[in-house]
Amino acid sequence: MATKAVKMVKNAAGRLVPTVVNDVPFAPFSGVGAKEPKRVMAAPPVRSCTEFPADGNKLVKDLKTALQNAGLRNGMTISTHHHLRNGDALTNMLFDTIHAMGITGIRWYPSASFPCHEYLIKYLQDGTIHHIEGSMNGPLGRFASEGKMKGTGVLRSHGGRYRAIQDGEVHIDIAVIAAPTADPFGNANGVTGRSACGPLGFALGDSEYADSVIVVTDNLVPFPCVPWHIQGNNVDHVVAVDSLGDPSKIVSGKTQVTKSPDRILIAQYIAQFVEEAGIMQNGFSFQAGAGGINLAFLLQLKERMKKNGVKARFIRGGSTQYLTEMLQEGLTDYILDGQAFDMEGVRSLRDNPNHVSTSPFTSYSHHSKGNFASMLDVVVLGATEVDLQFNANVVTHSDGLLLHGIGGWQDCLAGKCVILAVPSFRDRVPIIVDRVTTLCGPGELIDVVVTERGIAINPRRKDLIRKLSGSALPIRTIAEIQKEVEGICGGKPQRPELSVSEVVAVVQWVDGTIIDSIYKVK
């Protein structure tokens, strides 16, 4: 079922990658910042306002009608966004409808998938969905890893997904946009309504470039829906439904900070590192998240900022209650937010003018004329594996299973100081390996690896090594930490059995070239 025996070439990172994926030719990764051919941006078909109701009412009676009007056919590309997270009922409802219409061979182009989408496995099995191009988390990743998907998965970062839409690598036939609030014209936002989820930036490109755009809401308001994260001028049809999903799984009531002492220790090390490296200065910026270590780091850094009277100019969210508190307490001028993780994040985005909604276009896109990620002074990210050259993996585990999406991870590697926060082992599996199972981020972009057993600075960053030379922090070589951990875990793990002739998915670099292949697990 997976791509078999297509021509494989060795890319600039020394990884074998296919030159054709799902019958489409792709270029192999040729290095960070490699020169690109001049092309023009893709564009949607020319439309005329005369085709649309003059009274602005684009409501149709149901999703099926909207899909019919959009000209749904076999083999089309359908996109969705992931901001209903694990509470998303719409995507499952969408494919129920598509299946009932007898349509097959869909390329699903989500901005990410969640465990709730395990429901779609039956449609991957019966051919309703041909393959997924987008982050595959948990059950769908496992399904793909086992070689059961009919086509080959393509994994892109958030910025890479936007880029692929912009340069025409992925042409979206129909975008189906879950909208917590919308009006009959198609203006939509994610900050009000019972399914409020935060910014809708992940659907922005879809709304601008797709042939047809369907907005689906469970909170229909009379025109105008303000603010409009999605502009009705890009929308073909509006559908009202009873419920988009489970609000308790869309955002959490209150984001929990990790209680794991080891993770808190890693967070302490990072905050101290950021201060001692001289990064924590008035007007600085950083990326915040809601992951276990990331949130603990935010709280540690906050204490240090308060103690030293330091204020940030902007913090890139994922917003949480803890981040909005920093805005309220005057520790940052702005939050530039890509997604809200809890109710308080949503509320702040709605009510505080200095809490600003962003999109992958502004934050990450490779085809933007610059983006926010490369302006960040420090970025803290996770990883599943990192090797001695600081190359890192974020999608597969050491046993080869595809279990995570890339998210904005690759895009954030453009930051000025990139720190990977990782436990040195999970269960008995070491995180520092000789060779990463799947290459997602080239080591030249990763500056520091922080574990609970020590901090390794990339030898390329002589400036950081110099600044931290007198530090009380446990600064060690990455090889030293690896050796210690292998002692604990009982040596190096054996190589998992992977079927190297069967590529189940490919990982793109941010520029669209293929950086690595993911193989079927045996």
């Binding site: 209680k259 002492p261 080891d262 808190i264 220790l265 050491s398 046993d399 080869g400 999970r426 269960d427 008995r428 599996v429 609970e452 057993r453 604990i488 875990c489 009982g490 040596g491 793990p493 054996q494 998992p496 059995e497 697990v521």
Partner: protein
């Protein structure tokens, strides 16, 4: 689980979270151990969640014990090559309790820098799991790097505690915690058993004792207990059991235990050893912990039990000498050196005479400031 068979060789059924990465290693380890025990035919079922090798070894040995197969004596691997010596007067500001049957807590415990780590065989281990925990703790002492922490084991009450000693003494424990201590005889019996085990394995006795007073009778006999063994390094109080014993509720203010705590402090100091306070059980109440440690310090306690690594830094901070204490200590020590230089036996600070214990206390404070143990 192991069931012995009469033929068919060794058959291993392995279900492991890390099979793709460590399957061969686990099978190899099981076969090696069975060989070591001289077992040729057996059916072994291994259900593994990613345990490290020393844990797998302990689990297999426990399964074998449940089949009636037991080692008579520790083998060479079961004896610590280098028994580290622990000093009686070292700092014991924090001692971190780790349940003996939960080895995933062991691996990183030392990274949080407690003064001592207690591998607990007593209250945190269910009666049915005592053997399993004993083997885990023994293997942990032999295999885990606890950093600079003092390696402590809380044994069970006698007679079960004797079996515990047999396993952990050769494995390199530094200090034995004796729970629910109520008499000097208990400590003498333990001392005798430790001496016997050391002789058996030709080891020099260095293991210290740390009795815990947890009952009304224990409090009454606190001094007798504190002075019972030359190996005693400290006397601790356990308030959960004590308050239950006297029929009072344990409160945040702790008025119900003031008498017991003061008695234990007094007894310890009279016997020339440290006095250590009970644990603070509300893990998420940092302010409450801080207040509790400040009070304990004021009473004369030098340490606090910890049940979560996050408590360690808070206790260390709260026990740290104040600026005023440090300044006074510097003056005392300077005066002492001045007197020594002048050949004078009398140390004076201004018009005040300074006794030897005051000098000793001042030196301890400065050592604490300099981060020495």
């Amino acid at each position: 689980m192991v069931s012995l068979t009469t033929r068919g060789g060794i058959r291993i059924g392995l279900k492991s979270k890390v099979e793709a990465l460590y399957g061969a290693s686990i099978r190899g380890q099981v076969i090696g151990m069975l060989e070591h025990f001289g077992i040729r035919n057996a059916e072994v079922t291994v259900t593994d969640q990613g345990a490290v090798p020393f844990v797998i070894a302990a689990r297999l040995e426990t399964a074998l014990l449940r089949c009636g197969i037991e080692r008579s004596e520790q083998t060479a691997e079961g004896i610590s090559k280098k028994v580290p010596v622990s000093k009686k007067e070292r700092f014991r500001r924090t001692r971190l309790y780790l349940p003996g049957n939960e080895p995933h807590y062991f691996l990183n415990a030392g990274l949080h820098k407690p003064d001592g780590i207690i591998l607990d065989l007593e209250d945190s281990v269910a009666p049915s799991e005592k053997e399993a925990a004993r083997m885990l703790v023994r293997n942990a002492l032999l295999n885990v790097d606890f950093g600079a922490a003092e390696r402590m084991v809380r044994i069970n009450q006698l007679p079960l505690g004797i079996d515990d000693l047999q396993a952990v003494i050769p494995a390199g424990v530094q200090t034995i915690l004796v729970p629910k201590c109520e008499s000097a005889d208990q400590l003498r019996a333990i001392d005798a058993e430790i001496d016997r085990i050391c002789q058996q394995y030709s080891m020099k006795r260095t293991v210290l004792l740390l009795p815990i007073i947890e009952s009304a009778l224990g409090v009454v006999r606190a001094f007798e207990i504190a002075a019972a063994s030359p190996w005693n390094c400290a006397l601790a109080i356990g308030l959960e059991d004590y308050t239950a014993d006297i029929g009072a509720e344990r409160t945040a203010e702790g008025r119900e235990s003031l008498f017991a705590r003061s008695t234990v402090i007094n007894a310890a100091k009279a016997a020339g050893i440290q006095a250590l306070d009970s644990v603070y059980s509300n893990v998420s109440d940092d302010a409450g912990l801080r207040a509790s440690v400040t009070e304990a310090k004021a009473l004369g306690f030098e340490g606090k039990g910890c049940i979560h690594p996050r408590q360690i830094a808070i206790v260390h901070e709260a026990l740290a000498p104040t600026e005023k204490e440090i300044e006074y200590a510097r003056k005392v020590v300077d005066a002492f050196h001045e007197a020594k230089k002048n050949g004078s036996g009398v140390v004076a600070l201004g018009s005040k005479m300074i006794d030897a214990p005051v000098v000793k206390r001042a030196e301890r404070i400065l050592a604490q400031v300099n981060g020495r143990r």
